[in-house]
Symmetry: C2
DNA sequence: TAATATATATAGAAAAACTAAATATATATT
DNA sequence: AATATATATTTAGTTTTTCTATATATATTA
C-alpha cells in the first residue's frame, strides 16, 4: 500500500510545520525563523511558500489560529495543532520514513553489471 | 551556501536515476522496475514522471542514449551516464544529505515551551 | 531619521509530478 | 488461435507545489 500522493517537498514542509506546532503554538514568522535557525540555513522556506501551507492546514482543520495583539496595533496569528493534525502528523512521519528508507535502498542497491 | 533551487522530489528522481546509471547502462522501463522492486513498492515513478526526467537529463548532457534492437522490431533506448552526469550526481547526493539532516534536526529539535 | 527587523498576505509564474492514453511488440495462458 | 499480460516508449493535458516578487504595515536600533 504505497504512500498516498507523492508531493514530497510539500509533504515535508507540512510535516515539519506540524512537528513544530506539536510542541508549542507558534506564529508564521517564528516558524520560518525556526526552520532557518535549526537547519543552519539549509532548510529555508520563503514566506510565499510557508503561508499557503499554513492556510491549507487550517482549511483542512489540522490547525487553528488565534490573533494575538503584541504592541499597540501589531497582530500575530498563533497557530495551534488540533487532534486531527496530530493524526495527520503521524501519517506524514511514517510516509516520510518509508520514502527515505526507499531512497537509501535505491542509492545503496548493487545491481549486477552483467545480468540482462 | 544553501541548496540551489529546491525541486526536491524531482531532484530525488533525478538523483536516483543517475545513481542507478552510475552502476550500469539501463533503459527506461528497467529503471522504473528497479525503483519499484528495490523499494518494495514504496518508491514508484510512473512513466509520465520518469521519461520527462530522462529527457531533461539528456538535454543537459548528463546522460546519453543509444537505441538497441531487441527482438525483430523492438527497440530499447539504453541510457549511459556521462562525466558531467557523475559530477551532477555528486552535487545532488551532497544536497540530499544536507536537506535530510536539516529535516532530522527540525523533527528532533526541542523548542522551549515557555520562551517567547 | 534611516535602516533593519518583525509580520502577514497574495498575485503571478515556474517547475514538478501525475493521470491517462496512444502506440506497438513479445510472451504466456487458455 | 485467441486472449491476456508484460514489455516499452511517448506525450497531451492537468494539477500541485514552490518560488519570486511585491505590497502593506509596525517595531526597534543605530
Amino acid at each position: 500500500m504505497a504512500i498516498e500522493r507523492n508531493n514530497f517537498k510539500m509533504g515535508t514542509v507540512e510535516m515539519l510545520v506540524l512537528s513544530l506546532l506539536n510542541q508549542k503554538d507558534l506564529y508564521g514568522y517564528e516558524i520560518s525563523l525556526l526552520f532557518k535557525n535549526i537547519s543552519e540555513e539549509n532548510f529555508v522556506v520563503p514566506e510565499g511558500s510557508l503561508y499557503p501551507v499554513l492556510y491549507k492546514l487550517e482549511d483542512n482543520h489540522y490547525i487553528t489560529s488565534k490573533e494575538v495583539r503584541t504592541g499597540k496595533r501589531r497582530i500575530r496569528k498563533y497557530y495551534h495543532i488540533e487532534d486531527k493534525g496530530k493524526i495527520r502528523l503521524e501519517i506524514l512521519l511514517s510516509d516520510y520514513k518509508l520514502i527515505s528508507e526507499a531512497i537509501e535502498k535505491i542509492l545503496s542497491a548493487e545491481i549486477s553489471k552483467t545480468e540482462d
